[in-house]
């Protein structure tokens, strides 16, 4: 059998390349031409395609080469060509997952996640298109940092320098937002072999850069991160003989005999007595990429899933974190469903807490408002809650421990990278369970543990406007997102704390003052407090705001608006009826004024919106404000 897939006989590591780009921008043609020009085609294949094209009376089509390699297989079983090898003078290359696959995302992810470099193809006559951007976005998430951009079909724009540079500038801007710095832009015409292999010719006089193959030869195989913070992922603990060997891989950094290693999440520390290898040169250190074993000086409890680090550079340990994630599952990623999360050798049950943004990979804008799920092929920023503590890093700090996959019903259905996590300096930890060496627990630490900010949401509006209903609905919704939330209302305040207060003007002022003070304390402790009181006077609400802000807690005045007639018609507690009858004095709206908020943070109109709509609008407004700072991420 003569196949393309069987020629990788070069000793050096074959550089793995993934080719991506918009449909019809010339991926297949590029591969076909590249194989031919590097002499990597099986004998007679070129002539065979030539004959086919002549028979059909059409010009030679390079893309047919790939089709032909597949079509010649028996019709019962069609195997896609998924690895194609070619060679330059200096090394060999393997193109992973050639174009045209039906399950594109799933295979691109598998291919690109294992690729050393990517070729991004853009047709000069069409410029940057949707998939040009979407694929680049995925590459950035998958950590493919070596990118060469090929501007193809230059013949269709008469090798116009201005067209080329305009596309380059456009795309460079977009890639910069993703943190991708392309190594090269190369103008090519894949069909004619221009700038692929042969040195730049007269066709593109204004271009003095390298050809594609030269640009490829400039790439360096990515080196393991030996310089980063030490992360030793424990795979297993072996006792095959008298030795107790903690086996695992150095994911980042370097471990040395004599180092004190903290194993997270249980934070036990021990010294490295020896580094174990079999039939290898003895060496008292091991660096990123090495699968080794270590023998510890102290007999501490260590098991699979533990991550070893140096005491000065411990990873993040949290059960709640934010991530950018792509979803490949047939079923959407949804709140309320349980998943398995795998991060290095850790496996923990987790849930989706919130979908914070669904990202349009082509504009990098947020796609839509509040969502409770992420659909197949979507990319989103999400908050995830794990059943117990996970050890991790921000992806931009340590890539290997900053990424994870999510398993839905046995299948790897999504992958994500972690951002915005806060590192806590754990100082020197001596085999205890004390997490912070300092005794003071400040607001920031509470917020970190909760995974959201404290806040006071002050609902104000007429009796019957819907405050209680909204407060309860909001509470339920936030609670289900694993947030700490509590409602203060007449029922739990008037009967206890304020049982000595009546409904006189003075007492009403005092009532609101106490509510504000209690809300302040609770929010300072990290809770989201929803207050549900008519609170009719502007001055009182302004004072409440002052009290809350004094604790550096955000105050959201939410005006629950409904016309008096509507509220009176609803009259859930028959209070309007009794007020009209004179049984209740000083009733807001009847014989006492309601001072409409002049500048509330948000207003909901319960006469025009359903409860669901009002709650969604409130959540839309609140969720981003509840989240922890992620200012370090631009996109």
């Amino acid at each position: 059998m003569s196949t393309l897939e069987s020629q990788p006989n070069s000793s050096a590591h074959a550089l793995r390349i993934v080719i991506v780009g918009h449909v019809d921008h010339g991926k297949s043609t590029l591969v076909g031409r590249l194989l031919h020009d590097t002499g990597s085609l099986p004998d007679g294949k070129f002539e065979q395609i030539q004959a086919v094209c002549r028979r059909r009376g059409m010009p030679f089509e390079w893309a047919f080469l790939l089709d032909a390699l597949q079509a010649e297989r028996d019709q019962n079983i069609t195997i896609d060509v998924s690895q194609i090898w070619f060679r330059s003078a200096t090394r060999s290359y393997v193109i992973i997952d050639a174009p045209g696959h039906k399950e594109f995302l799933k295979n691109m992810v598998t291919g690109a996640a294992n690729a050393d470099a990517a070729l991004l193809l853009i047709a000069a006559n069409e410029g940057v298109q949707e998939q040009s951007k979407r694929h680049a976005y995925l590459l950035s998430m998958l950590g493919v940092s070596q990118v060469i951009v090929l501007i193809n079909k230059m013949d269709l724009v008469d090798y116009s320098k201005s067209v080329y540079y305009r596309i380059e500038a456009d795309y460079r801007d977009f890639l910069a937002k993703l943190g991708i710095q392309p190594l090269r832009f190369v103008p090519i015409t894949a069909r004619d072999g221009v700038n692929l292999i042969a040195p730049p010719n007269d066709v593109v006089k204004w271009y003095s850069g390298p050809t594609l193959l030269r640009a490829l030869d400039e790439l360096t195989p990515p080196a393991p991160e030996a310089e980063g913070p030490l992360r030793f992922a424990v795979q297993d603990v072996y006792r095959f003989d008298e030795r107790r060997i903690v086996a695992g891989r150095i994911e980042s950094g370097t471990i040395r005999v004599g180092d004190d290693i903290v194993f997270s999440p249980n934070n036990k520390t021990s010294r490295v007595a020896s580094i174990e290898r079999w039939n290898a040169p003895i060496k008292d250190s091991a660096s990123a990429g090495e699968s080794i074993g270590i023998i510890l000086a102290e007999q501490i409890f260590v098991e699979r899933g533990h991550i070893g680090s140096l005491e000065t550079q411990t990873p993040i340990e949290t059960n709640r974190f934010r991530a950018r994630l792509f979803w490949m599952g047939t079923r959407p990623l949804s709140t309320g469903r349980r998943y398995k999360l795998k991060l290095l050798t850790q496996e923990i049950e987790c849930q989706l807490v919130s979908v914070d943004r669904v990202i349009d990979a082509t504009s990098l804008d947020t796609v839509s408002g509040l969502r409770l799920s992420v659909a197949r092929n979507e990319v989103a920023e999400v908050t995830i809650q794990a059943r117990s503590s996970l050890v991790m890093d921000n992806h931009d700090k340590v890539a290997a421990s900053g990424r994870f996959v999510i398993v839905d019903d046995q299948n790897v259905a999504g992958g994500g990278i972690i951002f915005g996590g806060t590192y806590v300096n754990r100082g020197r930890i001596r085999s205890t369970n004390i997490f912070w060496s300092e005794g003071t627990i400040d607001h920031r630490i509470r917020v970190e543990r909760n995974g959201h900010r404290g806040m006071v949401v002050w609902l104000t509006g007429l009796s019957g406007s819907g405050k209680s209903t909204l407060a309860r609905a909001l509470e339920t919704n936030l609670f289900n997102r694993h947030m700490q939330v509590y409602v203060l209302d007449g029922d739990n305040i008037r009967h206890g704390l304020n049982s000595n207060l009546g409904f006189s003007a003075e007492d009403r002022v005092e009532n609101i003052r106490r509510v504000a003070e209690v809300a302040k304390l609770m929010a300072d402790s990290g809770l989201i407090v929803i207050t549900s009181f008519i609170s009719p006077y502007r001055l009182d609400r302004a004072r409440a705001r002052e009290v809350i802000l004094s604790a550096s807690v955000e105050f959201i005045e939410a005006y629950v608006a409904a016309p008096l007639q509507v509220c009176e018609l609803r009259d859930p507690k028959k209070l309007y009826k009794r007020a009209r009858a004179g049984e209740i004095k000083n009733f807001t709206g009847i014989d006492d004024p309601y001072e409409v908020p002049e500048n509330p943070e948000i207003t909901v109109h319960t006469d025009r919106e359903s409860v669901k709509e009002s709650v969604e609008r409130l959540l839309d407004f609140l969720i981003p404000r509840l989240q922890l700072d992620v200012a370090e991420y631009e996109i």
């Binding site: 059998m1 070069s10 590591h13 297989r73 060509v81 996640a113 080196a223 699968s291 398995k340 996959v405």
Partner: protein, 273 residues
Amino acid sequence: MDFSYTHLDALENQSIYILREAYRKFKRLAMLWSVGKDSSVMLWLLRKAFFGHIPIPCVHVDTSYKIPEMIAFRDRLAKEWGINLIVGQNRAVLDRGETFPNGRITRVECCSFLKKDALQAIIEEKDYQAVIVGIRRDEEGTRAKERYFSPRDKNFEWNFKDQPPELWDQFKTDFDAGTHIRVHPLLHWTEVNVWEYIGRENIPVVDLYFSKDGMRYRSLGCAPCTKPVQSRARTVAEIIEELRDTKIAERSTRAQDQEAEDAFERLRASGYM
């Protein structure tokens, strides 16, 4: 650093990681030992992964037509390295004489009975959940599509059109009861890599790989269906040199692959290695 991280180190470390994952994930795990060069490398990597030990049984499917030197080599190594050797064989077919060398069936059918069915039988008898197999992506088109952890259904069939995504070394490790897993720790190696590693580590392989009277075996299988190639390569270094310039596919000397364009694909889809 006084130590340079070579491509062989990268390959070795990745394979060790995969072997340890498999050993941890599957209580009933075995290695398929074909006695070829790739198997020798796998045994070596098992000893690397487990610090000198081979903690899992090694299954050899004996078709009874193997080249005799292979069996002698197998038994010697099993003894020297303390390997728990399990030999599987399709006795029924052999007793009935329904084999290709007897002229009763085709080569592909013969492979299917003596290798695939025998393997399936021993897996069922021993109730292995997973078997480590030394295939490589560069060997052949269908193998290029493989994953490190590759599920087979209860009939051992491989659904190559819908394969689990594999990224960041997170492998599919959750399965329905009855699913059988193939683990492929050498998937990312090439034929040359295998020889380079054999040379570097001084790993024992069957002598048949080295030139004798101008001929050597490049790929080992059953005597009736495996032919030596013309070669002067008598050392590992000479083999590597020879492979650099060859245009001939590694498995081209394996006759069963050549019966039809898709013979090997069909064998693999139905449970062949």
